[in-house]
Symmetry: C2
Subunit: 469 residues, 2 copies
């Protein structure tokens, strides 16, 4: 399989770099995929990066730079002289070139911009108008465009000219004289049609498209849902501006999944494109420490609640046995509910409008979960605890109640805790979206910290009432 092959090639390339054998570096790199070369680049030290980029030739270097994690791009471009940079920036596809400008510092932007040709300057300026995370910010403008009144022969002549430049010819878009999107043609229909038939006869309606200002995730989901290779991007007057391709969509969906996974675990900030092992310790620290400190202070509230119930614990210290369990069960059940709702929202399956239906469904699920847990623990307390407790030098239950009453108190508290945490877990992400936050900020840990506090109250109040303390 290729992967094994490429591990070999990567090894050979690494060795060639070690001994500074330029011709071996060049030859090995030519046979490798730029994606693998970009992965290797991350791991090289500065001197080797310089040798590498300058040896592999401008075309391959362009592909590698375009594939690098954003945070390495400015550094990589710094290895080139202005003359080389001019070639490299000109070689980049327009969406990759815009990415370069979006991720570089102000000073580098100005320097790079001055190296562009007049056409690239205008194109880049136009594309930079769109936010980085919109369809317009991700689109490419290198596409095949034909008009409906061309014949197949004329269309092929036009497309042949753009053949190598166009990012994709899987779908060719048909525009009117004003540049407005009117239809699409499959390359296979064009290739196999008779040469004098008009494009009008073989074109199909371009039913799927997005506005340039649309969120990139929405656009990517549309590509995925409708199994499209390319999705046209238009302005509000329906002018065809460019396309998003399936590989952009895959990248966007992966980024968004990683972001949701990390947010759900209370990891802050944008996911880095650099691979895990190449991120420094301080970057890891930066993304994790804020939430940890914040959650720690929320947990101190739990501590104060616990502290307030000193009297109850003094009368029935046996209650400590089930305190961590009741509290944690709420966090776990709430985390499950929140995760399912956040993911369902990300996949576009639910909207804030269905809040009531979700609350009702989660209320029933939460109640059943609470009852199932309560029953399991009740059995444990009545059957096993009388045997286990003496082993831990326990002094039996409290003064006024037996194991059966303890079981009832713990199970009741557990059911209330799981039910309320499940509903809260399902509702908070929807409320977050209602307030225009990302639903995934309602992370499992922050939810757990909140229901820790409510769990302490639920546990001690339920126990006090049922056990008569």
């Amino acid at each position: 399989m290729t992967r094994e092959l490429d591990i070999d090639a990567t090894e050979r390339l690494r060795e060639a770099l070690d001994v500074e054998d330029q011709s071996a570096v060049f030859a090995t790199a030519q046979d490798m995929h730029y994606a693998d070369l970009a992965t290797l680049y991350e791991e090289l030290d500065d001197a080797k990066r310089d040798l590498f980029l300058k040896t592999i030739g401008p075309e391959l270097a362009t592909d590698v730079v375009a594939e690098l994690p954003y945070s390495l791009i400015e550094e990589a471009l710094g290895h080139f002289h202005p003359a080389q940079l001019r070639v490299l920036l000109g070689n980049l596809s327009d969406d990759d070139r815009v990415d370069v400008f979006q991720v570089c510092g102000k000073e580098a932007q100005v320097r790079f911009f001055s190296l562009l040709g007049p056409r690239d300057k205008e194109l880049t300026r136009n594309l930079l108008k769109y936010e980085e995370d919109t369809a317009g910010g991700r689109m490419t403008t290198n596409i095949g465009r034909i008009t409906a009144d061309m014949t197949v022969k004329q269309a092929i002549a036009v497309l042949r000219r753009d053949r190598e430049d166009a990012e994709t010819l899987a779908r060719i878009f048909v525009v009117d004289s004003e540049g407005r999107l009117v239809g699409k043609v499959r390359l296979r229909d064009l290739a196999f049609a008779t040469w004098d038939s008009p494009i009008r006869d073989i074109m199909q309606e371009a039913a799927e498209f997005v506005l340039a200002g649309s969120d990139q995730e929405e656009a990517a989901r549309m590509l995925a849902k409708y199994d499209l290779v390319v999705l046209p991007v238009v302005d509000e007057f329906h002018h065809l501006l460019g396309v998003l391709t399936y590989d952009d969509a895959m990248e966007i969906l992966q980024e968004e999944s990683t972001e949701d996974i990390e947010k759900l675990a209370a990891i802050a900030g944008e996911q880095s494109e650099i691979s895990f092992l190449n991120i420094g310790v301080y970057e890891h620290l930066r993304r994790r420490v804020l939430w940890l400190v914040l959650l720690a202070f929320v947990s101190i509230i739990s501590g104060f609640v616990l502290y307030r119930f000193e009297e109850v614990l003094e009368q029935a210290f046996v209650l400590t046995l089930f305190l961590p369990m009741v509290v944690a069960a709420g966090g776990n059940a709430g985390g499950q509910a929140a995760t399912m709702v956040v993911r369902a929202m990300a996949l576009g399956e639910i909207t804030p409008g269905s809040a009531l239906r979700i609350a009702w469904k989660e209320a029933r699920t939460g109640l059943l979960l609470g009852l199932a847990l309560g029953l399991s623990i009740a059995v444990f307390i009545t059957v096993l605890l009388p045997v286990l407790l003496p082993l831990f030098q326990g002094s039996g239950t409290g003064p006024n109640f037996g194991f059966a009453r303890l079981a009832f108190a713990v199970s009741a508290a557990l059911t209330v805790q799981v039910l309320s945490a499940t509903i809260l877990g399902a509702m908070l992400p929807m409320m977050a979206r209602g307030l225009r936050f990302d639903p995934a900020v309602v992370s499992a840990p922050s939810l757990a910290s909140i229901v820790d506090v409510s769990g302490m109250f639920i546990y001690f109040i339920t126990a006090s009432i049922i056990l008569g303390i």
Copy 2:
């Protein structure tokens, strides 16, 4: 935008179904995308599903059935008579047909199989040999195949014949007389080449391919990494069996992300393809209850540890204030580390081989996180606690120590807890993979339950030593 359009169309279709207006159902459905029709189908009751499937015509019905969540496919096919079923099963693309057989019950499998034509029977039997989650199990065999000695004209004649059947013509694969993969041709090169040039001259090396038995996720990641539209699937003798397409890859990557997200939140079982709101309460219960009960019993161990330290608490009840915080901080920090490692593994960024490097990196990160948290809490205890405690009718600190010593004890415990939980969180997923479990089974909640137990020990032992209790 299309989405708004489709919501309108969905509404009209729903109304037409309500009044059983068959011609309106037919007309509206024809203008809609089958993906939207499949989404609508989920929400219909049995009678409307019957009317819907029988009205929209066999071709559209085939597309809708292929797009349905797996759990609804057998039910949907049950609406058709054998004669209709024969047409529908014949219309399905070969990979969708195999899916049908993989998800239906034994009895339905036999019945459906008897309705297939002889060629489809053999094809289906061959494809069913591959596991559902392998490249072979997901591939399509409807592809354009040509040989290197054909001219462009001959190749186009061959492909024109297969034009509508082939799932994709973005890449056309070149095989030798034995059917072994020897290269690939882009449709654009074929379309724009002179008719008498031999295929040999315009074909490129097919460097990327997977074995049929490879894991589907590995194959999907290769498509994503190398920006491929199609990835050829071969057997061990390099015979071309079929291809995986970009839309298969997108689907696979989304499924795997959802699975990881859910596992990390301790939700068991395969993700359902049915949308969140259409899953029943009992299905939700089934996927969540087992982990909740299991984790509850682990938390009881924490309870027993707490119970054992009754004496320490009796002497310094003020320690309860920081008990929930120290314990929870471990769960949070460990959960962050586990999540990052699980995701990095899923993205193929780290392997068990890099375990030592990761342990070292996480040890440093964990130490810094622990120190940062410890410092914040020490400031809180020395500066704010003396003011806050009287408000809660607190009796001051313990008998033998002041706020400064308490701050030192809590911070030391916190640092040890966060450091150990971070290392454990990073290591457990890698150990799980070493033992051939899915790394994502090391969910944040299960990790939290484990470090709850160790956290109790760390807290009470550290406090006893430093405070001299």
